[in-house]
């Protein structure tokens, strides 16, 4: 009992009071669960079943999105759980249970649960091209999918087709390159999960890096009888950031010294990590920040013309006539132009102002640009959370009704039971969104100053460099606030 109290105190101390870290593996049941080979398999199997129901429902169920489980479960329930709960609190825990790479992984290993002691991987095991050893493909893939999001999140069959593609691609990639190259370099969701997991309150880290350095056999990379070498192609002994750790927990199983910890920590723990910063991640921040604003503008705004532009295929009532290309092209231009060029350019100007204001010439502008871009992560994440709040609060009744009639074809499993559309506290939503935005802004300001201190440790240069960043963050936040309340 005393031990439990101790755990609870440490838990809140690390998460809320920002005092140190708390290793969840100290809790026996979590330790045993994560070391059990069947854990990840079971989690993936559950989601595999759900995803195939979703795919079948997408193809054969009602074409009306809000009556089909494929839209309601994926784009309301899953999305809300992912962005509001999983990413901020549990890092890339979704990757632990994601079913998309399941077939490829099982095929390559020729096993479902057990670790086979002597076997040959079913893969050519070619090296991943070094030029693609970044998240640019994920950046572009996410933008491409986001461009068609009005179709994706409203047409069950489009969701089903995209999911089917995302099931097939990893299998082919595994056969050529092996391991989780799809998750690491291609998956359009993985890119922003990696970026936002830097803000998360959970991390997997080595307890003692010296021990890892001196450990010659490196079972976490090569694998042993207890588990596979890291499927995410990283060295767990050197982990300093969450970005590319998919929380498969193989390293916990293989480490002979139990030298890994699953820590609860304060929010934003990785933003100040100096390793791994690069332009691809910087652009991911710009894309995510810009798309949050555009989604709120297009999906939740009153401007019908934007919806017409985004909705490239539409004809009343649920048809497929191609009638919107004339507007869709400028819409694509706005999406890609703002995300890839305009936002980064404006940020570049403010970074230039930071450098000028600091009075220090020795710090390269490119380095400053990349480093400061990480301050956008809390604001971008909170903007996405703010976008997601009305999705659930307004549309929650669709989830209940989709459970009662999963494919929307009138199979009401509890006949007669139907929940009418009833938004939950709709008038309060703009205030909730504004509060969430303010939290993101406060965190972004906090990390902006610390990033400035990393680059300008001497005197008041950090403060002078920090102030233009505050102006930029405030300017962006005001745009979001206007979208919510103005």
């Amino acid at each position: 009992m005393a031990a439990t109290r101790w755990h609870v105190r440490d838990f809140f101390s690390s998460l809320i009071l920002h005092r140190g870290k708390f290793d969840l593996l100290q809790i026996g049941i979590i330790n045993r669960l994560l070391k059990h080979r069947a854990f990840q398999y079971a989690a993936m199997m559950v989601n595999l079943f759900v995803f195939w129901v979703i795919i079948l429902s997408g193809f054969f169920g009602s074409p009306v999105g809000n009556r089909n489980i494929s839209i309601v479960f994926v784009w309301i329930l899953w999305w809300f759980a992912l962005i509001v709960l999983m990413v901020p609190l549990l890092s890339r825990i979704w990757c632990t249970m994601c079913p998309l790479p399941a077939f490829g992984e099982w095929l390559e290993r020729r096993a479902l649960v057990k670790k086979r002691s002597a076997f040959k991987y079913l893969s050519l095991r070619k090296p991943w091209p070094s030029k693609l050893n970044n998240i640019w493909l994920q950046n572009l893939g996410f933008l491409a999918i986001a461009t068609f999001s009005a179709l994706l999140v409203t047409r069950p069959v489009v969701t089903a087709i995209v999911l089917l593609i995302l099931f097939v691609v990893p299998v082919f990639l595994v056969l050529i390159y092996s391991r989780r190259v799809f998750c690491r370099f291609i998956c359009p969701v993985g890119g922003f999960l990696g970026l936002f997991s830097m803000f998360s309150a959970l991390e997997l880290r080595p307890k003692d890096k010296t021990l890892c350095r001196n450990h010659m056999t490196k079972e976490c990379v090569r694998g042993n009888d207890n588990g596979y070498g890291c499927p995410w192609i990283i060295y767990p002994g050197g982990l300093e950031r969450n970005n590319y750790c998919g929380l498969c927990f193989e390293c916990i199983k293989t480490c002979p010294y139990n030298n890994l910890a699953l820590n609860l920590r304060s929010f934003g723990g990785d933003i100040l990590a100096k390793t791994g910063r690069a332009l691809d991640e910087a652009w991911k921040s710009f894309i995510m920040l810009t798309l949050a604003g555009l989604y709120i503008l297009v999906m939740q705004g009153p401007w019908g013309v934007l919806k017409d532009w985004s909705n490239v295929f539409w004809a009343p009532p649920y048809g497929w006539a191609l009638t919107g290309v004339g507007g869709f092209l400028p819409y694509v231009g706005i999406f890609w132009g703002l995300s890839l060029a305009v936002t980064p350019s404006v940020f570049f100007l403010f970074t230039g102002a930071s450098k000028l204001a600091s009075g220090v010439r020795s710090v390269p502008l490119k380095k400053l640009f990349i480093d400061f871009s990480y301050e956008l992560i809390p604001l971008a994440l909170m903007a996405w959370i703010a976008f997601s709040i009305p999705l659930l609060l307004v549309n929650w009744s669709y989830i209940v009704n989709a459970l009662l009639d999963p494919v929307g074809l009138g199979w009401n499993v509890f006949s007669g039971l139907y929940v009418p559309w009833t938004p939950l506290i709709p008038a309060v939503i703009p205030y909730l969104q504004s509060i969430v935005l303010a939290v993101g802004l406060a965190y972004s300001i906090k990390y902006s100053y610390r990033l400035a201190k990393q680059n300008f440790p001497e005197g008041k240069a950090a403060l002078k460099a920090f102030l233009p960043q505050v102006v930029f963050l405030t300017f962006v936040s005001m745009i979001f606030l206007w979208l919510f309340m103005g």
Binding site: V64, G65, N66, R67, A150, T154, R155, V298, M299, Q300, G301, P302, W303, G304, V305, K307, D308, N311, W314, P316, P317, Y318, P390, V394, N395, Y398, W421, P423, P426, A427, I429, P430, Y431, S434, L437, A438, L441, A442, I445, K446, Y449, R450, K453, L463, F466, V470, L473, T474, S477, M478, L481, W482, F484, M485, G486
Partner: protein, 152 residues
Amino acid sequence: MLKRQLLAGAWFTLLIVFAALFYAPSASGGEVVTVHITARQFAYEPGRVVVNQGDTVVFVLETVDVTHGFYIDGYDVDVRIIPGETQTVTVVADTPGKFKIRCSETCGALHPFMVGEFIVLRSGVNIAFLGAAFGLVGVVLAATAYVWRRGD
């Protein structure tokens, strides 16, 4: 010195926010305003309706394609707009702020995103937005002063 100024600024901003939120000048509204709204897949025209607090707003509603709904967040309004018919609904704009108008009848693919905005001003000002904007500036000043005081 600058730290003190920032902290003072944060407090002053918060003071303004509270003043803005609780100060209740006489509403400039009280008029009867008629607003014609045409619903179509997947928008209301006009998309933004701006009135003054105290106005009695008569919405005259029509649809040019399929059946739509007309639901206003925070106001007890939920009516069905049927093709070929004109619906009239009267609302007293007693609460200031921005309220979404939502379609409450499944009307097609983008139905969940068919929204409009009903903005109720107090003395010609969107007081909720103004208060929130000052609040955000207060957050900026307070966070700036806090991180600077604490250093790294």
